[in-house]
């Protein structure tokens, strides 16, 4: 089973020889070839570079193994998702044991935040539909169903930080299962959908197009 958050006991003291051999075959997982930074970019560096060298020769080359031990992030296109899979059925068991005590049996929230709930107007699986909603619309909780723009973020976050009493304790299949359960409960994927590195990036979240870039840039206008 893949370690969920990277080994914390990674040996960092490999010989320089081994490190050079490994870094020579790629090093970073983003294989980018480039030669020298442009003069333009160098000028932008806010450093006193008059008598400063380009490099100080500090630090040790990171080996592929060292990078892989910590490189746990997952991007919206699925980059970083590990092998493995899960469904709402497998996730339900994990959820009941690991998550329900804080987030409620159906994800309705408790001492932990609410996880389940659609966009107002689309109804909520655990409560009254929006048409019947008598409360303050502005107080509808932000949930995975109505506010998370990317399904991959669920995998990334659960994998790195949950459950809060034992973060890092879930294996890959358990995380995929939890993601599937949460997406099913929010009415986003069919009940029998299998979540894995191929399918998860294809899930279109209801809040996918909700977000706009920052426009707060100073000046007299309040934004």
């Amino acid at each position: 089973m893949v370690t969920r958050r990277g080994s914390t006991s990674t040996r960092l003291g490999l010989s320089v020889f081994a490190a050079l051999m490994l870094s020579g075959c790629g090093g970073a997982n983003d294989a980018v070839s480039f030669t020298a930074r442009s003069a333009n970019q160098a000028q932008r560096i806010n450093l006193a570079t008059v008598d400063a060298p380009d490099r100080y020769g500090l630090g040790q080359p990171a080996t592929r193994a060292e990078i892989e031990a910590w490189d746990i992030d997952v991007m919206p296109d699925g980059t970083g998702l590990p092998p493995g899979e899960g469904t709402a059925e497998t996730g339900a068991t994990v959820y009941a044991r690991q998550c329900a005590s804080c987030h409620g049996p159906e994800g309705e929230g408790g001492s932990g935040e609410a996880l389940v709930g659609l966009i107002p107007g689309g109804g909520a699986p655990f409560g009254p539909t929006y048409e019947d909603w008598r409360g303050d619309l502005d107080d509808v909780p932000f949930t995975i169903g109505n506010y998370w723009p990317y399904a991959t973020t669920l995998f990334d976050y659960i994998n790195r930080a949950m459950p809060s009493a034992a973060p890092g304790s879930l294996n890959t299949d358990q995380v995929y299962g939890l993601v599937a359960w949460l997406l099913v409960k929010n009415g986003i994927i069919p009940e029998d959908a299998v979540m894995n590195a191929e399918t998860l990036p294809q899930v279109m979240m209801p809040a996918r197009n909700l977000f706009v870039p920052n426009n707060r840039d100073g000046g007299p206008e309040v934004k």
């Binding site: 480039f34 490099r55 630090g59 910590w70």
Partner: protein, 401 residues
């Protein structure tokens, strides 16, 4: 309480107790005449006077604590009073085992030890840090202190290495535009940061007010992004991954974004807008008619403050307060304004104006611009204190929102 002992109090106390070499203080505690015996010897570690007990105010869940702004007189926050906001508790990191990995779109993926970081040319800067959720004034009771209105802002002198220098060392790709910063706390906290900030003024800080960082501020090393919302300044920094797009982490999508009135939500809203708070007079002070110096702090994440205005008539008129030099960019500035209080009820308020022309807005202006769903992050409304005729001071009440 900030009442001062009057000369008459002192004389009365001294006359009554002079014979036994002590007198009664305002609080009723008997105070020894310190001139008649030797005081405490020198010690390895200093401590506050036993008469001074400033305290942070932790919240119920203990994921945050707030700086007692009303107890401070300058602009530097004592390190043990720096506010806290953590997402997975405060880890105990062994500095000898500490490693910082920089990888991704770089020529030479590299691991730095703490000693490595300290060997690079160092830089020191004075900057505030403020949590994006630093507004406790919404629907707050009259009995609310400055600490609870906005005590999640603190200021330190930070020392460390410019992130640009590290990126130069590892050979960051000219095509890269973002980087991921990751902590080694239980949340393995992450944020995506535009690389431009690294080329501008980002640093990896290992010292705070001249000594090693406090654990709650990221010991042994943290990211510091001057003027940017607190959570992007990743503490206990263990990894920087250089990339060409943001990673869309939980903290920059479902959290720390601003839902707007038009149904959209603003993302990557990094910079802290101008803000101010009067720290005296404030609840629970009691003031007397006559000359009162109104004091407070103001700051902007966009640069220097242009001025701070103070109103003593509930916002009908404003006067420019005096700013204590030096007025540093992206830093707390202390402002003061002398006021001759006539004893009638009024509201005292402050508003900061920064060098971009941005003026700290009213609550109504923020609501008009963003709508009611955006009441959690990046709130910087003008706030004030109501002074009652009996001299008691309370947090100025607003309609519920």
């Amino acid at each position: 309480m900030k009442r001062h002992l009057s000369r008459r109090d002192l004389l009365a106390g001294a006359v009554g107790t002079a014979a036994i070499g002590s007198f009664w203080t305002e609080t009723g505690a008997q105070s020894v005449d310190t001139t008649t015996h030797q005081g405490e010897p020198a010690s390895e570690l200093g401590s506050r006077s036993s008469h001074e007990r400033p305290k942070r105010a932790p919240t119920r869940t203990r994921t945050t604590s707030r700086t007692p702004l009303q107890d401070l007189h300058g602009t530097i926050t004592p390190a043990d009073l720096h506010f806290e906001r953590h997402h997975g508790g405060v880890p105990d990191v062994d500095p000898n085992a500490y490693r910082l990995l920089i990888h991704g779109m770089v020529e030479r993926p590299t691991i730095f030890t703490l000693d490595d970081l300290k060997q690079f040319p160092a830089t020191s800067r004075i900057h505030f840090l403020e949590c994006s959720g630093n507004f406790g004034g919404r629907n707050a009771e009259p009995e609310t202190t400055p600490q609870n209105v906005c005590g999640m802002t603190s200021q330190s002198e930070w020392t460390g290495v410019a992130l640009a220098r590290l990126l130069q060392e590892v050979g960051a790709s000219p095509d890269a535009t973002w980087f991921l910063a990751e902590g080694q706390d239980a949340a393995v906290m992450t944020r995506s940061v535009p690389l431009e900030k690294a080329w501008d003024d980002a640093m990896i800080a290992y010292a705070q007010n001249g000594e090693a960082l406090r654990p709650a501020q990221g010991y042994p090393a943290r990211l510091l992004l001057p003027g940017w919302e607190g959570n992007t300044n990743i503490k206990w920094l263990r990894r920087i991954k250089v990339a060409e797009r943001p990673f869309m982490t939980r903290e920059e999508t479902s959290k720390y974004t601003d839902p707007l009135a038009d149904g959209t939500a603003r993302q990557f809203s990094f910079v802290v807008d101008a803000r101010s708070i009067i720290t005296s007079p404030s609840y629970p002070e009691i003031i007397q008619p006559g000359w009162v110096e109104i004091r407070g702090i103001a700051w902007s994440g966009r640069g220097r403050l242009a001025r701070v205005d103070v109103s003593t008539d509930g916002g009908q008129s404003w006067q420019a307060a005096r700013l204590q030099e030096p007025v540093l960019p992206k830093a707390h500035v202390r402002f003061r304004h002398l006021w001759n209080w006539d004893g009638s009820e009024t509201d005292v308020m402050s508003r900061a104006v920064d060098e971009t022309g941005y003026m700290q807005p009213s609550r109504e202006a923020l609501l008009a611009a963003r709508g009611r769903r955006s009441r959690q992050y990046h709130l910087n409304p003008v706030t004030g204190w109501t002074v009652r005729p009996d001299g008691r001071v309370f947090y100025k009440q607003e309609p519920r929102w």
